[in-house]
Symmetry: C7
Subunit: 74 residues, 7 copies
């Protein structure tokens, strides 16, 4: 029997750097500020990456959960 | 434990310029007038951008939340 | 704190000309007759546009909200 | 304030010829027999059109609302 | 005012041959055994067709409603 | 009036070999161990097929219902 | 009559190595730490595979259930 639920991971990494992979093949890296039950996320100091290379600095960003493939502590 | 929720960001930037990235790869930039829980947004003085270049001036626009990848203060 | 909600825009432009961008890259322009909470819309004197050029006159049309990217007063 | 709702159009054209545009770019034309709140439609004497040309006669058909882009009296 | 609803058509053709068009452009033809409110269907003696030509005999099949574009008595 | 519902087919073939066609054009064949109302399925001794040819042996597998086009006793 | 439900498989393999196939054709392999009713999963020591070859080591990862095609004990 599990003691944890998947969203516990988001709680643990609040305030830390995460990597978010999107359905459109881009990745966004930034500091996780908040999340909700739809996996909508706000990141600070966010950067857009393409194949691991920096494409653009975005600053603060609200990401829709529906476009996310995975979230991983960076 | 988080004190904020992702939609708080939208509240903070009401009346300010935001950049919205859409699933069809276009971006819309404009002044955020209103939003709802589906992330439907109304922008004023909206402009359509393609790869960062101005493609068209649209004026006032109601964007369906379901097509949004992210929203960022511009 | 916002005083408006996104659908207020649809209420304001009832009876007026709107431009609707669809997911299939087409646009429909016409007079907004009615809408509902799913953003289903009825337009009168509707015209189908492709890259801004008139493609076909459609007359009255019921558009499914789920295919809409944005609505803008034309 | 609007007095009508989008589905009123379907009620008005019951028994009449309608054109239905589908997400897969095909169109179906036929006499509207019934509809429900999901925009599922039954058409009689339905014909499948491709770029306005008759592709096949289908007869009676039940169309899933989820694939519909728009419905228009023909 | 309509007296019928779209799913009445499925009730009428229970036990009869139907043609089902799927989103992946294939068609399945077979005898309709049962359906539910999601338009999930069971067909018997089902055959897979491609551009009207027989591609494979499948026998009994449970089709997910979500992939269906239309159902038509064959 | 129908006496059966589509999911009855899954009940009948529990413990038997089934073929599952997925949206990504692959097929999975295996012994049906369990299912739920979302058409999530567990298969044992599952094999991945491509155009009818064995591509890989997978063993036990939990398939998400949302990706399934059809299920058929094999 | 079935005694099991599909999600029982996830319970059985908690703490063990699983292979997850995603809609974007990638696979993720790792130790299953937790799951929820949407099939959201947390994996530890996760690795991204492409056609069976190691593409990247990701560490801990939260996978959105909606992108999953299947989960299999590895």
């Amino acid at each position: 029997m599990q003691n944890e639920r998947p969203f516990d991971l988001l709680n643990k990494v609040l305030g830390q750097q995460v990597m978010v992979r999107l359905k459109n093949k881009e990745s966004i890296r930034g500091r996780l500020v908040s999340f909700d039950m739809h996996m909508n996320l706000v990141l600070e100091n966010a950067e857009e990456l393409n194949d691991g290379e920096l494409k653009a600095k975005i600053g603060t960003i609200l990401l829709r959960g529906g476009n996310i493939i995975f979230v991983s502590p960076a």
